[in-house]
Amino acid sequence: MATGSGAAAAAADAEEKESGSRMITLTSNEGKAFVVTEASARQSATIRSMVDDGGCVDKGFPLPNVDSKTLARVIQYCDEHGNKEAHTVDERAALAKFDKDFIAELDADKAFLYDVTMAANYLHIQGLFALTTQCIADTIKGKTPEEIRTAFGIEYDLTAQDEEEIKEEDTHA
């Protein structure tokens, strides 16, 4: 993956002529350009449908909802899953290992994990979205409601009526 500039875009144009190795430019909301292989970009269903519709492949795709830091990380995932084969047991194991390390690193920075989740949702990158949402769910798992509120900075706002309902359910349960 190369970053920035017209040089990269020119390189992309040159490669476009070779079938299957077209390059696509994604631009973050800070105006930073990321040049990726088409296979990598196609991990995103959003971009895939724009490419297939014959959209602005030459002009690249501006992504107004994604900042550079997040986009770089998302592309890291797409490169791994788009550019590498996953046919043999070993290849699949290598991808699984990548996913595991990738998510472990994100998990250490919850705000960033959330940004990547939102980007994966916006770009419709199914595998990445499943990976990050599962990671957040695992954070919730095993915590009490109070602990969850603390972990996610949520204010307690259940009404007396809610509490009554909850008690009601508990007696039936």
């Binding site: 830091k69 920075d109 919850k110 705000a111 960033f112 994990l113 959330y114 989740t117 939102m118 949702n121 979205f129 499943a130 949402t133 599962q134 957040i136 769910a137 695992d138 919730i140 798992k141 915590k143 009490t144 409601p145 969850i148 509120r149 972990a151 996610f152 900075g153 949520i154 204010e155 307690y156 706002d157 259940l158 009404t159 809610d162 909850i166 359910e169 039936h172 349960a173």
Partner: protein, 368 residues
Amino acid sequence: MPDVGGGDSPPAAESAPDDVLAEILLRLPPHPSSLSTASLVCTRWRRLIRSPTFLRRVRAFHRTPPVLGFFHNSSDALRFLPAPAAATEDAHAPARVAAEASSVGRYGDDEVWWFLDCRHGRALLHSPDRAHFLVWDPMTAERRRVAVPRRMQGVGRATRRYATVFCTAASASHSSSFHVAVVFTSCGRVYASVYSSRVGEWGDIITRQAPFRFALYDAPPAFVGESLYFLVNQNSMLELQCGSETQILSVIDWPLEMNTLRQSNMRIAMFLALSPDMDFILHLWAREVADDGELKWVPRMAIELDKLLPLPTEMEGDQCRVMPVSLCGLSEDGSVVFIQTIDGIFLVWLETLEFKKVSCSLPMKHIY
């Protein structure tokens, strides 16, 4: 790189749009207790988790729990036979169920509970006098007794009764909420009633005229969508819709092609049948909405068993003949099928067509 997350105010679930939050909550462990905990966090989480759409998605996302093994009744106790290398992450689960099963058999004062059916993680048993059901969750060891109204005990007369346990999408949000359905025939009519653990009572008995020579077939019913399907003779099926407060009982037709099949070789899950002995083809039907908007049985899959399994053969004169095979069980979600041959029972995963031999020949009807 500064850590903007930290412990103070990670914005994750707080500012995520509903659809993203739903995707996160969907991935909590499928046990109802984790959802009920999450629903106590705040009103927004609560509203999301309690919505019927979300509960339906939870069910679809996690599907049915993995097959752990089979139950069978023996004269002295309930037995549980773990499935070999079941597709489960929890390797100890089958052993736990087996240990629990032996204690359930002796539950009460020398009573032996008789196993009836199991579904959605719960097993249903009845007392020798048929006056009580026992609803048992082998994973949590929870047991609940349910008294059976006299009319539904099915004692005397030529009454045939089938009872089963299930959870609806709405009840899945409550950890210990379940339903028990009883269907029985008497004097040319078919009756049904559903018990709700939330209400703690049986619902009204609903009834309809049974077609001529109508008889319930002794196979576990299937739970598809929010309805139970019971196999009956006369080329039909009994449908009990349980989705709303009031149930609807109706008799529906079989798919046409099935008329030539032997009853003993059918199970409904989605719906499965083994063709007449000679061609060894396993058919799988699913209940789907057809183009005209009507629910219909649609053929889904046909598997040539003789090409898959090492079916036993015998020499008959100078001809090699494949011995008969029969269908002895199907998991709730229709993903695992059990095929009996004279060599033993085979477990076949329909998705991957992998199979494994279960080295015994017990009459296994109830797959947990």
